[in-house]
């Protein structure tokens, strides 16, 4: 609204200039003719509809003669800009990172903002992973050495944690990262790490 009112002030200021262009754009030509237009020359109802249902239509033109004013065009452009801005803003601001969990049985993806505990089947047994407050950590794992538990929570995009014996790895991916687009198949990550 602030923008609009500034815009109107701008128009008002320009009108004072009273140039030919401005008169043309904002329609002063008609007003200077001094003759107010009156639309109702006659009582429309009595002339158009008869009691027996016949209708006398005026010989008005029903063709398409439309007028798009400068203000309309500017406002449309303004809205389009807003939409594009919103779209760009959405893409850039997409902080929403994802957690990718690779298990022997398949690849899982969860939003980092979710607040839940997930349990997966690994090579040795079950592994429980908690996603809470933007942090991912292993809660329980059926592996012998428990190194995955000792690392604690990870929260930054790009961080990685894995339970190698059980074949389960956790990646944090940002929204636009390639990792989400070309997700690897089960087991590949684990191999890479163990090498």
């Amino acid at each position: 609204m602030l923008f609009l009112s500034l815009f109107f002030c701008f128009i008002e200021k320009n009108r004072l200039k009273n140039t030919k262009l401005h008169r043309k754009l904002f329609g002063y030509y008609a007003l200077q003719r001094n003759v107010p237009r009156v639309l109702f020359q006659k009582s429309a109802v009595y002339d158009t509809v008869h009691s027996d249902g016949r209708i006398l239509m005026n010989e008005k033109e029903y063709g398409l003669k439309l007028k798009i004013t400068l203000g309309d065009v500017l406002f449309t452009l303004f809205l389009i800009c807003l939409t594009v801005y919103a779209a760009i803003r959405y893409v850039e601001n997409g902080k929403g990172a994802y957690v990718r969990i690779t298990t022997p049985k398949g690849v899982y993806v969860y939003p980092l903002e979710s607040n839940e505990e997930y349990t997966f089947d690994g090579l040795h047994g079950k592994t429980t992973i908690r996603v809470k407050g933007g942090e991912v950590m292993f809660l329980e794992s059926a592996c012998p050495n428990k190194t995955c538990l000792s690392k604690g929570g990870i929260s930054e995009a790009g961080e990685f944690n894995a339970c190698l014996p059980n074949g389960i790895s956790v990646h944090i991916l940002s929204r636009d990262s390639k990792g989400l687009m070309h997700f690897s198949t089960a087991g590949e990550d684990v191999d890479a790490v163990s090498i």
């Binding site: 007003l31 200077q32 509809v49 007028k67 004013t69 994802y98 899982y108």
Partner: protein, 394 residues
């Protein structure tokens, strides 16, 4: 007998309904809405509705659509309520602002014309009669003087309504809606541009509008008593309410997708047994759309991928769950909301609701009788004949 302004409101609400029927008859992709039913709101602004009248017109429009489509107790109603109320407020204030600005500039610019415009408030030209005021105001607001026209107003309304609807629908469609937001807003700009153009055309060309803006018109016409008769609340309605309400509550508060699906199926069967019309294509579309929107926030096992989009297991279930909730609310409302011509309808026989339905009936009947090929002419003719039929003066 209803007062003049009530009759005016009823007529315009009926026109809104008629326009939404017209919109249905135009083939288009399912997810795009043209918003034709906002056209009469623009025309109503143009024909000088006051704020209270305009608000009651909008409310009546929303409730009429809720009753006729049977969406009164569903999510669709909440959406349309939020969208319509916000957009109509914006449209009203935009319109007033534009009129105010143009009046002001006119007064400063051209002294001869100024009193004519200002006389709509009756200060500078006290001797002119009511009719004159109306006419000159009308003439003053004609095409050549608006540097912003209906296009601007309708675009502003559509934009605000879309934004509000996106924020509201986020609560029952999930975060995925934001991904679609630019597309929805873009479509809204295009369709409201078209709507603005059409309204402009209508206001310039229509004889119907000339007719009803005649100051004496609503005093003399459209005073026919309405046809429908009603009775009070029946016990059947209470049973229905308990039955449907139980299903809906189960559906809303359960976590299991299966139970939710079963409950919405139950409600669907209730609808079928009570002979409510249920169209299956929109139902299928609702499911497809909701699941698709849920896909934008991936969760759970990745089943397969289409380009960038991951199809994940949990988000499919979440989408199904959401669509079942939406559908069950729709069925519930269709099951419970009385048909307009049903005897157990809770309205007084001479209320504005039935008045509006009466106009709507006449207009839509007349529309299908017309053979006129030119669309603008056909609309105009239809409306003229319909208001003639609705008036008992002849």
């Amino acid at each position: 007998m209803l007062s003049q302004s009530k009759r005016k409101i009823a007529l315009f609400a009926a026109l809104c309904l008629f326009c939404s029927i017209l919109e249905l008859s135009i083939p288009k992709p399912v997810f795009i809405r043209l918003g034709f039913s906002n056209g009469p709101l623009l025309v109503a602004l143009y024909s000088g509705f006051s704020f209270v009248e305009f608000c009651s017109l909008v409310l009546l429009k929303i409730f009429l659509q809720g009753f006729i489509n049977g969406t009164l107790f569903s999510y669709a109603f909440i959406l349309s309520m939020a969208g319509s109320v916000s957009s109509s407020l914006v449209m009203f204030f935009f319109y007033k602002l534009l009129v105010f600005l143009s009046k002001k500039s006119k007064r400063r610019k051209n002294n001869q014309y100024a009193p004519v415009i200002a006389s709509s408030r009756g200060e500078e030209k006290p001797d002119s009669g009511e009719a004159d005021k109306k006419k000159t105001m009308w003439a003053g607001m004609c095409e050549e003087k608006f540097s912003f026209s209906f296009i601007t107003i309708s675009e502003a309304g559509a934009f605000v309504s879309n934004i509000v609807q996106i924020f509201v629908s986020r609560f029952f469609l999930g975060e995925g809606v934001y991904t679609l937001a630019p597309v929805i807003l873009g479509c809204g700009i295009v369709s409201s541009f078209v709507l603005g153009l059409l309204t402009q055309l209508f206001c310039k060309k229509s004889q119907f509008l000339d007719t009803i803006t005649e100051p004496s018109f609503f005093a003399a016409y459209l005073a026919k008593p309405v046809k429908y008769m009603t009775r009070g609340v029946k016990t059947g309605r209470i049973i229905k309410m308990i039955l449907g309400g139980a299903c809906l509550t189960l559906c809303l508060f359960t976590d299991s997708v299966t139970l939710c699906g079963v409950m919405s199926l139950c409600l669907l069967l209730f609808c079928v047994f009570t002979k409510r019309k249920v169209r299956f294509v929109p139902v299928a579309w609702t499911i497809v759309r909701t699941v698709a929107i849920s896909m934008f926030v991936p969760a759970g096992r990745i089943l397969f991928a289409i380009g960038d989009l991951k199809i994940t297991q949990d988000s499919i279930f979440l989408g199904l769950h959401r669509s079942f909730v939406i559908l069950s609310s729709t069925f519930f409302s269709r099951f419970l909301v009385p048909k307009p011509n049903e005897e157990e309808s809770p309205f007084k026989p001479n209320s504005i609701y039935y008045m509006s339905l009466d106009y709507f009936k006449e207009v839509s009947e007349e529309w299908y009788k017309q053979k006129e090929k030119n669309l603008a002419r056909r609309i105009d003719k239809t409306l003229l004949i319909a208001i003639k039929k609705c008036s008992n003066v002849w």
